[in-house]
């Protein structure tokens, strides 16, 4: 009896094994041909990766890239832990982090910028003028109303409403928080001394302030909340337009008010690119120059220099493509990014060569 059940069980298991083997053969056939890469992180870079990956996949069928929008904080931590092969971040890693993880490279792939958006019914069609110190006063609770004297002074002739400002900030670890708080820190000493900058900062306690997840969450919260203000990546400009939000002109280091556009971003890049060190960890925020837009940054791929043989090749090939084809006007225009200048491309290529 027990023999019989044993043999029948064995039969079943043989059949099962055969089925499984057939299944895995089919899967492994596909897997043999494909190297899988996981990209995760920056929600600002996500729209660009979404454009890149299908085009790249067509010309490189051997590589399958999955993209995720999870925030720069996750991008850095998952690239460090090895969950993702490519971490996307708008922020470079700190010295202390680099000391802990010396094999991690911060490689700029392109240049982005950030908008300050607001939802002030009746005024969303015009570009309100704002400055670093005024934004710092708003986010630290010293300016509570849209018609405060400091805001009126920047916008003569504009009828600002006597409504409380609703501040929106990012809840997740975010490169957007990083560059926004850098703009406030570099332009406003009191902010620098009290709050400072980082991918996560301790936002001063201001009643009614909202935390939102990712750039899509920022757009949604700003759209649904009259009299709110938010900082949102340039790649969400179309979404901003659809949501009918306003876009502020920002005061740059030279004291002029500018909007983010290829011309103003390019001016800031020209002012800062020459200072870029070999490891490319540098802030481009609050650049000098009359035309310079104040909040721009390198968009980083966070990569471990030590990869498996096949993965290393695939990652390097993808990065080289991103620096050349990926920086073409076809892609850049759609997300409002600016290509890396040739000198920076060389620095990035030198870093890519370290991956093995």
């Amino acid at each position: 009896m027990s023999m019989k059940t044993g043999s029948s069980r064995r039969k079943t298991s043989v059949v099962l094994a055969a089925t499984l083997a057939m299944g895995t053969m089919m899967v492994s056939h596909a897997a043999l041909a494909q190297t899988r890469l996981l990209e995760t992180g920056s929600s600002l870079l996500y729209p660009l990766f979404n454009l890149w990956v299908p085009v790249y996949g067509k010309s490189h069928p051997g590589v399958q890239i999955t993209t995720q929008s999870t925030g720069s904080g996750t991008g850095i931590s998952e690239a460090v832990s090895g969950i993702a092969q490519i971490g996307a971040s708008d922020a470079y890693m700190s010295n202390a982090q680099i000391k802990m993880h010396p094999a991690i490279l911060n490689i700029p792939l392109t240049i982005s910028s950030q908008m300050i958006n607001y939802n002030v019914p009746g005024l969303n069609g015009r570009h309100l003028r704002l400055s670093g110190p005024v934004l710092a006063d708003m986010y630290s609770g010293q300016i509570r109303y849209w018609d405060a004297p400091a805001v009126r002074e920047l916008n003569p002739g504009v009828r600002l409403p006597h409504k409380q400002i609703v501040l929106i900030h990012r809840t997740d670890g975010s490169g957007d928080t990083f560059i926004f708080s850098q703009y406030l820190s570099f332009s406003t000493p009191s902010w620098n001394n009290s709050v400072g900058y980082g991918t996560t900062i301790s936002w001063p306690a201001v009643q009614g302030g909202i935390g939102a997840e990712g750039n899509p969450g920022m757009v949604n919260a700003c759209k649904g909340t009259p009299y709110s203000i938010a900082y949102i990546g340039i790649s969400f400009k179309q979404a901003i337009g659809k949501a009918g939000l306003g876009e502020a002109m920002l005061k740059n280091r030279a004291g002029r008010f500018v909007l983010p556009a290829p011309k103003t971003i390019g001016a800031a890049v020209r002012a800062m690119a020459a200072h870029t060190p070999a490891d490319e960890r540098i802030s481009l925020v609050f650049a000098p120059g009359a035309e310079s837009y104040p909040i721009i940054n390198y968009e980083y791929a966070i990569v471990n220099a030590n990869q498996d043989g096949k993965t290393a090749g695939a990652v390097k090939e993808f990065f080289s493509w991103a620096l050349s084809h990926g920086n073409s006007p076809y892609f850049m225009k759609q997300v409002g990014f600016v290509p890396l200048p040739p000198a920076i491309v060389k620095l990035s290529e030198a870093q890519i060569a370290k991956i093995h």
Partner: protein, 322 residues
């Protein structure tokens, strides 16, 4: 004998796991507990410090410059949202249970009860998404201004500004909707399983149908009601995803009115873990673990208090009856 040993082993695993989790939290957050001191639960500042500067040594611990960890706003947010959710959910749950047990025709009863139980099985993220897309715009445009104009005149906590819709009240409403089915379904079962003779006796003594229900049937199911409320309380205290999506994730401040954003301990742990992992000293992650530890302690205290209340109440009833 062998079967019994197996059972003992399986049953024994449960308390061991509970103990292991609490011990892990205590050990893992030990450094944070020492560094933060009692200030952790009374301070209102959560600050990872400047992550772009080199770590410094403070009170013998490696931390980032400026690092301060205080979670009073999270404790207040958690307790307030849970309390309000129970306040909404218990009466509605009781009403629903009575309706399901007494008022609907018996051929529909099974079906409708089935749907209520299905409601329990819906993942919380679905509630969160629905709250995010549907409830928030509705509340901020219609209900909140109305509440502020009416109740707000009487009770200061209901007065404006009515804010953005991401709020304490929104979180409480979504939480309440999640826990109503727990109370309704459990209580309905208890009501249905009350002996028919009890009701017949009450009716025979001249009680109306309502009196029989209110004075005889419902008190008989009191223990079940309290048990279900504990379950609901536990769920509301620990709920993460739905709260994360509708609460507004307030940081470092307490709500001044019912329309202000809040955050809860469970939601905060999820939303801040990635940021905390950026801290090279590791103190941020340990402080998050300390939040989990505090949440565990608060759950035990709240549950203990509720049980104590039950005990006192039961004794009171008994003496009153004598």
């Amino acid at each position: 004998m062998k079967f019994r040993a197996w059972l003992a082993l399986v049953a024994g695993i449960l308390p061991v796991i509970l103990l292991a989790v609490v011990l892990f939290l205590a050990f893992y957050s030990e450094q944070a507990i020492h560094f933060n001191g009692w200030g952790f639960v009374v301070r209102n500042t959560w600050n990872l410090g400047n992550l772009y500067m080199d770590p410094i040594t403070r009170h013998g611990f490696q931390v980032q410059p400026g690092a301060t960890y205080g979670i009073l706003f999270l404790i207040v947010g958690t307790l307030l949202s849970t309390f309000l959710a129970l306040l909404f959910a218990v009466p509605v749950g009781i009403g629903a249970a009575i309706f399901l047990a007494e008022a609907i025709p018996s051929h529909l009863r099974t079906w409708i009860s089935f749907f209520v139980e299905l409601l329990m099985a819906i993942p919380s993220v679905v509630f969160g998404l629905w709250g995010y897309v549907v409830v928030i715009p509705f509340l901020s445009r219609h209900l909140f201004p109305l509440l502020a104009a009416t109740l707000g005149r009487l009770i200061p906590f209901f007065a404006g500004p009515t804010g953005s819709g991401y709020s304490l009240l929104t979180a409480s409403i979504v939480l309440a909707l999640m826990i109503v089915p727990i109370i309704a379904a459990t209580l309905r079962d208890a009501l249905v399983s009350q002996p028919v003779s009890l009701r017949e006796a009450a009716l025979g003594l001249g009680a109306t149908r309502f009196e029989a229900l209110w004075k005889v049937i419902l008190p008989g199911a009191r223990k079940t009601l309290i048990g279900a409320t504990f379950l609901a309380l536990g769920r509301a205290l620990g709920e993460t995803m739905a709260v994360l999506m509708v609460s507004g994730n307030a940081l470092n401040y307490l709500p001044h009115n019912i329309y202000d954003p809040i955050s809860t301990m469970a939601a905060f742990i999820v939303s801040q873990l990635d940021s905390a992992l950026q801290d090279p000293t590791g103190m941020a992650v340990r402080s998050l673990a300390e939040i989990a530890f505090v949440l565990a302690i608060i759950s035990v205290i709240v549950n203990g208090l509720a049980r104590l209340l039950l005990l006192v109440w039961n004794n009171g009833q008994r003496t009153a009856a004598v």
